[in-house]
Amino acid sequence: MRLEARGRVAPGALIGAPFVAIAFTLLVTAALVAWAGAPVGRTYALIFAGGFGSRFAWSETLTRATPLILTGLAAAVAFRARLWNIGAEGQLYAGALAAVAVGGLREGTAAAWPAAVLFPAMLVAAMAAGALLLVVPTLMRTHLRVDEVVTTLLLNFVVLLFVSMMLDGPMKDPAALGWPQSVALRDDLALGKLIDRTRVHTGLVYATGAAFLLAFVMRSTTFGFEVRAAGANPRAAAFAGVPVDRTLFLVAALSGGLAGLAGAIEVAGRTGYVTLDMSPGYGYTGIAIAMLAGLHPVGVVAAALFVAGVLVGADSMSRDLAVPTYIADVIVAVALLSMLVATLFARYRLRLR
């Protein structure tokens, strides 16, 4: 048994791969659902209805998709340059913390700034915090050959502990009755509602805007060419005069910045303050979303909607059936693995003997 590279990869095969992967995923998880003793068809129907079946379902899915689009973009742009950023989760928390530090701490001094100034400053601080967390491991890779998979992954735990320290220390909210929770963001910094009487906020506009902007950058700018060239073949890119190390540095700032922005937008749009459970693994889920999207920025929006719908739908389904909500995590994880295999088969064919 061996894999042979296909001479020419059909573009249809690459576009079809995520759909095949999702179909296969639903097949695999159906077995788990059946094992839990629940009717498979009804379970999926309830997940779908809970994620996309009503105005309320849609609003919840869109709210959930907002940070996922940004972390998905963070992974997509980094992976395109073969920079393996596994640290979006930590970068998101760092961004959230920086946002509150600028826009919530010492309300007296901060209040001196009008919201029109403070709001962009808050976003910039959040992106800078996220970027810093990826730029340092990237420099360690380009200059010292330290594997960024290890450093970015482990930094997630360092950041979480740091956040925990801040929430119990300098940034603790005195009014939170002892809960580990940060001081609140100033009220006039909160994002507006996109749809009335729902939780959908204008952060969704920022996220989708970022996706289309990034798609344009990747396709039409010299920087986009440098990213794709440095990712596809760094030796050949360097030979042709692409500054590979500098490109990786900029990609790191961009990717970490997007993840940091996700944190700020969650704080400004949804929670209003930082807690240790504000992200149920958005950073990690972003990796699966980026892969499902084939690393394409606009595809990330679609993949994030799908994953958010599954997460929200599974929550609602588990209230009716004896299937735990963790089935959503299984679906996302299996979808990632299936997608990897599907793209493999789009590029290679399996030969028996």
């Binding site: 060239a229 073949n233 030796r235 042709a240």
Partner: protein, 511 residues
Amino acid sequence: MKETVLRVAGVSKRFGRIKANEDISLTLGRGEVLALLGENGAGKSTLVSILFGHYVADAGTVEVFGTVLPPGDPAAALRAGIGMVHQHFTLADNLTVLDNVMLGTEPLWRPFSRRTRARAQLVEIGRRFGLVVDPDARVGALSVGERQRVEILKALYRDVRILILDEPTAVLTPQESEALFATLRGLVAGGLSIVFISHKLDEVLRVSQRVAVLRAGRLVTIVDVAEATKERLAEWMVGRALPRVTMRAHQRGDSACALEHVSVTGGASAALRDVSLKLHGGEVTGIAGVSGNGQSTLADLLCGLRAPDAGTVTLNGVALRADPRAWIDARVARIPEDRGAVGLIGDLPVWENAISEHYRRPFASAGLVRRSAARAHARRVIERFDVRGGGLDTPARALSGGNQQKLILGRALGGGAAQPDDFVPVLIVANQPTWGLDVGSVGYVHQRLIDACARGAAVLLISDDLDEVLALSDRVAVMHGGRLTPARPAAEWTRNALGLAMAGAGELDAA
């Protein structure tokens, strides 16, 4: 007729639409050397891979000593007595010769290895066939010729009766090739049969008794060498008369590039020691030598990939910084050794590869790629440099080797200029520009280099292929162990002198 040891009957193999082998039948007699002659892509490698069980033929059988081999089973081929020496050696550098030879011959479950017996056997084989190598030498410390002897010993130790040699002279100096031919005569006298794969006509005529010529997957003919001439073989191999490179009269111009007492130490590639060289416009300077002696470091210097540790490199009197962009902007056309890994970004389409050296200037403004101008330029490169087998949006890796090289040529020699044909580079650095290309593409690449030279470019030609160096160069220098001999007019070198210099004999004189 001698006893037949190997019979290939009606073997066919397709890869997708490509017929790699089509109804090939041939036999090999005991004590015979059969040459498999053909261009790259003619189906030689596919055929021996089927012999050796790496591939399964779609049709046909392989019969060894009268028994049909089970298809797709390399272990069975080994047991039947087929051994193979690959072009790229499969030796563990850190182990000794004896360890390498024994590797894989002993069952895993036996607690002790029988080294004493193996050593005696190895020494005996070496003595019988005149293959002298110290069993305790570390393979990493051996020369290329010696490593090849170890590969052959490895096969003989496994009691091989049929030995397949894949392009065995590609990595050898002329003198080492002579030693190999003597070894082969000894093996044949000892009763072995040999399949000798090559695309070099001279050596095929010298070592083999019969020649099987393959072209485009088909067996064109099998002839006795006595009935073959070089011209006939070439015509069978290519299917037409060879295109001749027309040399244009060119005048030696001013010094375009000068290396003075350049040394490079450390780094991943081989070192350079006190290298001095002047390259003139309108002149081809050839660098001969066995690969791995510092040629790629020299090319890296002149492609702007690294800076010298000592000495100076100047282009038109100016020392450029080690940055590919600075060298591209100074009109240096660079043709790298490894097309796939360094020359092209295989996943990106042809048009982006065609402008990858000029994506900032002139094909972008304000950070935006000028897509239509870039694509128009790529289209001109494809037309003027005859790149076939794909359009602008085909991934570069889907092109054949010859077309990939033409694309690189077009990018480098065209210089991103509006009229790629009229651009004249200051310097052309061509490192192994025809390695692995078919004869037609070789002629094309040579003609392009000669034409650019006639228009005033200085050409540095680095090649393992002595014939190529001698055919194209006005002056030739030889590289060995990081040192470069003075460049002398090509006519003043004899093949023998070149071979000695490639083996490092020149250093003795200097010392």
